[in-house]
C-alpha cells in the first residue's frame, strides 16, 4: 500500500514544469480521471495562433484605416502604420538572440564523457571476469 502525501508544489528551485493542474490526484485515482480530464475542449495550437494573429491584425487594420472614426494624431499614425514590420523584425531579433545565446551557453559535458570512458574500461574488465565474451 502506498502512503504518499500529496505534496504542495514548490515554486522555485525545482525543475517543475506543469503548474496548471492542482495536485489532487494521487497514484490510485490516476486511471479514472485521466479519461475525463482529456475531454476538456481546447483549440489546436494552429487555431490559437490564427485567432491571435487575426485579432491583432484586425485591430491594427481598424486603427490605421480609421474605421472606428477615430481621428488619431498624425504622430500616432506614423508609428502605427509600420508597426507590424517593427514587430516582425524584433521577433526575429529575439529569436536569433535567444538561439545564439543558448548555443553559446550550451554545456559541453567533458567531465561526463571522461567519466564514461573510465567506467567503460572498468565495465569491460569486470564483465570479462564474469565470463562475458565480447
Amino acid at each position: 500500500m502506498r502512503t504518499t502525501t500529496p505534496r504542495r508544489r514548490r515554486g522555485g528551485g525545482a525543475w517543475l514544469v506543469n503548474d496548471f493542474r492542482t495536485p489532487t490526484s494521487g497514484p490510485l485515482g490516476e486511471e479514472e480521471d485521466a479519461g475525463t480530464r482529456g475531454k476538456a475542449v481546447t483549440m489546436t495550437k494552429l487555431a490559437q495562433w490564427l485567432w491571435g494573429l487575426a485579432l491583432l491584425g484586425s485591430t491594427w487594420a481598424a486603427l490605421t484605416m480609421g474605421a472606428l472614426g477615430l481621428e488619431l494624431p498624425s504622430s500616432c499614425r506614423e508609428v502605427l502604420w509600420p508597426l507590424p514590420a517593427y514587430l516582425l523584425v524584433s521577433a526575429g531579433c529575439y529569436a536569433l538572440g535567444t538561439v545564439g545565446y543558448r548555443v553559446a551557453t550550451f554545456h559541453d559535458c567533458e567531465d561526463a564523457a571522461r567519466e564514461l570512458q573510465s567506467q567503460i574500461q572498468e565495465a569491460r574488465a569486470d564483465l570479462a571476469l564474469r565470463g562475458l565474451r565480447f
Partner: protein
C-alpha cells in the same frame, strides 16, 4: 521524503519483518536495441551498478529487433551473468517501430514504473536515482531528462549540430508550448499506466514520437518533472542527423501544431 506512515496497528501483536505493508516500487528499464553488441553489456553493467548502489528494485527488459550483429547472443550471456529476474529478454523478429517496442516490452514488465532510455551509452544510468527522487518529490506522472536546463548538456556535438538542436527546440517551444524543455530526448521515467495510455494515443515515429508523448501528456493533464542530464553522443557506432531527419522532424512538428 515526506511520506506519512499510515500505521494500521494490527490487533494481534505479531512481529513480522518490516516492509511488507508498503508495496515496494519496482522500476522496469526498457532497452530497445538494434546492432548494439558493443554497447549493450556496458549499459547493462552501468545500470546494474547504479541500481544496486542505491538499493532500487529493478529489471532490465531488452527488446532486440533481430540485430544481425549478434546483440541477442550478448544479451543471453548477460541474462546468465545477472540472472533472468534482472535481465529479461523480449526479442522480436525484425526491426519494427519504437512505440511497438515499448508496448512489447511493457507487456512483460513487472514494475510499476517504466524507464526508457537509449542503449548506446548517450544516456547515463547514474541519473536514474535522480529521476526517482524527482518523481517522488512532486508525485509526477512523468520525469523527463533535459539537456537544455541547469547542468544539462551535451558532449560530442559540433557547432552546426548545436545550432540545429537549439533552433529546433526554440521553434518547438514557441509553436507547441509543451511545458517541458527537452521534447526530443528519450531518457524518461513514466508511471506504467501513464506510458500505456500515451502510447495508445501516439501515432508518430522517430524523434517526433518522443515529442508527441510529451504533447499528449500535457493534453491529458499529466504532470511532468525534469532532471538535467548530460548527453554523451554515441561513443561507438555512428550518430546520425541528416537532412532527412530534419525534414521529418519539421513535418512532425507541423502535424502536431495543426492537430493538437
Amino acid at each position: 521524503m515526506a511520506s506519512v506512515e499510515v500505521s494500521c496497528t494490527p490487533p494481534r501483536s505479531r512481529r513480522e519483518p518490516e516492509g511488507r505493508a508498503q508495496r515496494q516500487d519496482k522500476y522496469s528499464v526498457l532497452l530497445p536495441t538494434y546492432n548494439e553488441r558493443e554497447n549493450l553489456p556496458l549499459i547493462v553493467w552501468l545500470l546494474v551498478k547504479s541500481f544496486s548502489e542505491s538499493g532500487i528494485n529493478y529489471e532490465i527488459i531488452i527488446i532486440d529487433d533481430g540485430s544481425p550483429d549478434g546483440t541477442r547472443d550478448v544479451a543471453e550471456q548477460l541474462e546468465k551473468i545477472y540472472g533472468s529476474d534482472k535481465i529479461v529478454l523480449r526479442p522480436r523478429e525484425k526491426k519494427l517501430g519504437l512505440g511497438t517496442a515499448y508496448i512489447h516490452g511493457m507487456k512483460h514488465a513487472t514494475g510499476n514504473y517504466i524507464i526508457i532510455m537509449d542503449a548506446d551509452l548517450s544516456h547515463h544510468p547514474k541519473f536514474i536515482p535522480e529521476f526517482i527522487r524527482k518523481q517522488k518529490e512532486g508525485n509526477f506522472d512523468i520525469v523527463s531528462g533535459t539537456r537544455y536546463k541547469g547542468n544539462g548538456g551535451v558532449y560530442g556535438w559540433d557547432l552546426k549540430r548545436k545550432i540545429i538542436s537549439r533552433g529546433a527546440n526554440f521553434i518547438t517551444q514557441i509553436l507547441l508550448r509543451p511545458g517541458a524543455s527537452d521534447l526530443t530526448g528519450s531518457f524518461r521515467l513514466y508511471r506504467k499506466e501513464v506510458l500505456q495510455k500515451l502510447i495508445e494515443k501516439c501515432v508518430s515515429k522517430g524523434y517526433v514520437f518522443q515529442m508527441e508523448m510529451i504533447v499528449r501528456a500535457r493534453q491529458l493533464n499529466y504532470t511532468i518533472g525534469e532532471v538535467p542530464i548530460s548527453f554523451v553522443d554515441r561513443v561507438y557506432g555512428e550518430s546520425k542527423l541528416g537532412g532527412n531527419e530534419i525534414v521529418s522532424f519539421l513535418k512532425g512538428l507541423l502535424t502536431l501544431f495543426a492537430t493538437t
